[in-house]
């Protein structure tokens, strides 16, 4: 039981720290520390350009996508070295949030399924931050039940072998500035839903691709809808076989849950600071026994997530694969953040309704309140995550699926009985 680096890890950490000290964009540090939901906090310059510049600098020095093979733009480092890098990068990691989906999900999928030629062409510019990728999976009628998606890909009738895409995707982060997209489509509606899917990668500048920002419930617009009207994709941009799209998507989704769940904040440090400052009947709120009980319960969740992460890092450090315990991360963090934002507003009493620059911590708790419903849904809803824990970790049987052996075109699309 210790939190010490091994000799090799310590040496690596020293090397990383020295490079970051010498190269990080220090002028952005204060802005990055104010990073909030859906933005990296940079306002003094173009936040995307700032992210690309930092990624490029890292790539040139061999610090980009540490765990990827060198031939694809990575540094062939060990998982524990990647963790150490992340710890040392600190606030600057927020700069490259624009690449989270590309590096965390699309990249690994391309690495597993694309041809060697495509891997060498696509991955290095993704690693170096030249290209941004997005993930075109969810649709208005298929979220948790992703395999129910309806965007159609049909073979062009001109003998070119190309595919023609029509349909709509939703909840696509970064679509408006992405160069490439990972797109899952339905190629065969006459077979059960999981069997008729095919995965492609797509040039987002292709004719017929239209990106529209979604105005979210919290008033921000960090997600998009993407519409496809007769978009043409060459067959050599297919990943996996025709009809193998579900299998390909699982590579992406496994990576999605890993990367979103790790190192999530619950908002506890902010709440604790608030309770030290706020007053109840002229005494610090933190001295109130009801506040203490509530704070303690949130504190042990925050701490439990932190040390669960450290147990996973311990496994990596020993060259082992971390256990399933990390699957709790997003489930705990999302619900905790929502609860604690309501609690923080309760302590503000009637003034909690006000959300402006003069609100405690510039309205951070109001922002958490309004953003946290999305955290409990994106990247696997709380309910889907509980199914995954129940089935993959505890070994419980799957639910009965009434649409499993039904051709996709015959699956009912409305819960209302026809009159």
């Amino acid at each position: 039981m210790d939190f010490e680096d091994t000799v090799e890890e310590a040496a690596f950490r020293t090397q990383v720290r020295a490079w970051i000290d010498a190269n990080a964009p220090r002028h952005l540090e204060e802005e990055l520390k104010r990073a909030s939901f859906g933005s990296n906090g940079v306002v003094s310059e173009d936040p995307i350009a700032a992210g690309k510049a930092w990624q490029k600098k890292k790539a040139e020095a061999g610090w980009a996508c540490l765990h990827w093979p060198k031939e694809y733009g990575g540094a062939a480092r060990t998982p524990i070295e990647r963790v150490i890098w992340g710890q040392e990068e600190g606030p600057y990691a927020a700069l490259t949030g624009v690449f989270t989906i590309g590096h965390g999900m699309c990249g690994p999928t391309v690495m597993s399924w694309a041809s060697e030629e495509h891997k060498r062409k696509l991955l290095p510019p993704l690693a170096s931050g030249e290209h941004v990728w997005c993930q075109l999976f969810s649709e208005p009628a298929s979220g948790s039940d992703l395999a129910g998606l309806r965007t159609r890909a049909v073979k062009a009738d001109d003998g070119s072998g190309d595919w023609i895409i029509n349909g709509q995707k939703i909840w696509t982060s970064g679509a408006q500035y992405s160069d490439w997209g990972l797109l899952i489509t339905r190629t065969n509606p006459d077979v059960p839903k999981h069997k008729g899917l095919t995965m492609f990668f797509l040039d987002m500048k292709s004719p017929g691709v239209e990106v529209r920002p979604i105005k979210q419930a919290n008033g921000q617009s960090s997600f998009n809808e993407v519409y496809f009207t007769d978009v043409r994709i060459p067959d050599n941009q297919r990943l996996g076989e025709v009809g193998q799209g579900w299998e390909v998507s699982l590579t992406t989704l496994m990576n999605e849950r890993l990367s979103i769940g790790s190192g999530m904040s619950t908002g506890f440090p902010e709440l604790f600071r608030f309770c030290m400052e706020a007053e109840i009947d002229g005494r610090p709120a933190v001295e109130d026994s009801a506040v203490r009980s509530r704070l303690a319960q949130i504190a042990v969740k925050q701490s439990g997530l932190k040390y669960t992460g450290m147990r996973a890092i311990s496994a990596l450090s020993k060259g082992e694969i971390p256990g399933p315990e990390n699957s709790i991360g997003k489930l705990v963090a999302g619900a905790t953040m929502q609860d604690l934002s309501m609690f923080a507003l309760d302590l503000q009493c009637e003034a909690g309704v006000v959300w402006d620059e003069d609100s405690p911590q510039q309205g951070r708790f109001q922002a958490m309140l309004m953003r946290s419903p999305a955290t409990r849904i994106e990247g696997g809803s709380d309910e889907i995550l509980r199914n995954i824990i129940g089935e993959r970790v505890l070994g419980l049987p799957g639910d009965i699926r009434v649409d499993k052996d039904v051709p996709f075109k015959d699956i009912p699309t409305s819960g209302r009985k026809k009159k």
Partner: protein
């Protein structure tokens, strides 16, 4: 970073688990629940012979000279098996008081006997309803004689001695070692929500009392020892939580309703997933507590309260939902669910209630925060 037990410690865990699965099946727990004995003497002797009672007692005092990490491993297994033995009173508390505050003579007299299971010690703090604070201690010692009433005292019915918190001649809280077979001590066994662990009322009327530790320093010493015991107790609770989760999982796989295993219904599956979440948070917090306990970290008070609050939450959550998943069968005397339910609620109160530890955690965090700020 290595927030995990060593391979040797994991082997010790396997060894103890095998021993307990043989010597402490639920029939042994029920024998104490339903029978006249207030603990399993054969099991306690067996644990002593394995050397686990003395795991963290120095070799010069008859212990095995291992560390508190090994004792954490032991505690988790005792919790899994609901072992009906006075280890928490005698080892986490009494032995720890002697190690932390005893004179060499006191250590030489009692530690070898505690390690060998030949004597049982306990800690007598509470004097009745509500949270114990220094102001609420009215037991007092004058001229080496203790007078007062302590209850509940865990294992007070079978202990050979108790470490008693009482007022000294100056009215300060001090600790006294009191032999319970002596004249002037009367003990009454109390009924409790968990009869697999004994509870007693100790009535002292001018009973001989020997000072333990510095005079007037009793509350401070007790706080330190309670923090150390809280980490070990948290491991016991963690073991219980994990076992309750496993029972519920196994039943959900086996029990059929509406033509399918009940574990395939999301209504049951999600309860089990939430039990896994609370047990996992507790495990990670317990490891943090274990690290602080063995490394002598300054943050032990925060780490101990963190582990304790998290493990209490997890064990109560898993034990109550274990009954829920079992449905009506879970509320029968014949099924073991109520054994876990009883133990989880009894351990939630031992060493001070959940709200007490929640308060301690936040008090300590704010004090640390103020120090950091200053």
């Amino acid at each position: 970073m290595n927030l995990d037990f060593s391979d040797e410690q994991k082997q010790l865990r396997d060894q103890i688990r095998r021993f307990l699965s043989e010597k402490c099946p639920s029939s042994a727990v029920r024998a104490v629940l339903e029978g006249p004995e207030s603990y399993d003497k054969g099991l306690y002797r067996g644990l002593a012979e394995m050397g686990v009672l003395g795991a963290a007692i120095p070799e010069e005092f008859g212990g095995s000279g291992l560390t508190h990490l090994e004792l954490c491993v032991v505690a988790e297994e005792l919790g899994r098996a609901l072992a009906p033995v006075p280890v928490s009173s005698s080892i986490y508390l009494a032995a720890e008081f002697l190690i932390q505050a005893g004179t060499s003579k006191q250590k030489e007299l009692w530690l070898p006997k505690l390690a060998a299971g030949e004597a049982i010690g306990t800690f007598a703090l509470s004097e009745g309803q509500g949270r114990t604070t220094p102001a609420r201690i009215s037991a007092k010692v004058e001229g080496g004689k203790l007078t007062g009433v302590k209850f509940p005292v865990a294992d007070g019915d079978v202990a050979d001695f108790a470490v008693v918190a009482a007022r000294d001649e100056k009215g300060k809280v001090s600790l006294y070692l009191v032999e319970l077979a002596a004249a002037g001590v009367r003990r009454e066994t109390l009924e409790s929500i968990d009869p697999t662990r004994g509870q007693a009322r100790l009535v002292f009327d001018r009973a001989p009392a020997e000072l333990l530790g510095t005079k007037g320093d009793g509350w401070h010493i007790a706080s330190q020892v309670l923090d150390r015991a809280a980490v070990l107790m948290a491991f016991e609770q963690l073991g219980g939580a994990d076992r309750a989760l496993e029972m519920a999982r196994d039943y959900a796989l086996e029990r059929m309703a509406f033509g399918r295993p009940i574990g395939s219904f999301q209504g049951i599956k999600h309860i089990l997933a939430d039990m896994y979440v609370s047990a996992t948070l507790a495990r990670s917090n317990c490891y943090y507590g274990a690290w602080a306990l063995v490394s002598g970290a300054a943050e032990l008070p925060v780490a101990a309260a963190t582990a304790r609050v998290s493990a209490t939450t997890a064990f109560q959550h898993c034990a109550k939902n274990n009954i829920q998943v079992h449905g009506g069968m879970g509320f029968t005397w014949a099924f073991d669910c109520h054994l876990f339910y009883r133990r989880s609620n009894a351990l939630a109160l031992a060493l001070g209630s959940q709200s007490t530890w929640e308060t301690l955690l936040i008090e300590r965090m704010s004090a640390g925060n103020a120090e950091t700020a200053a």
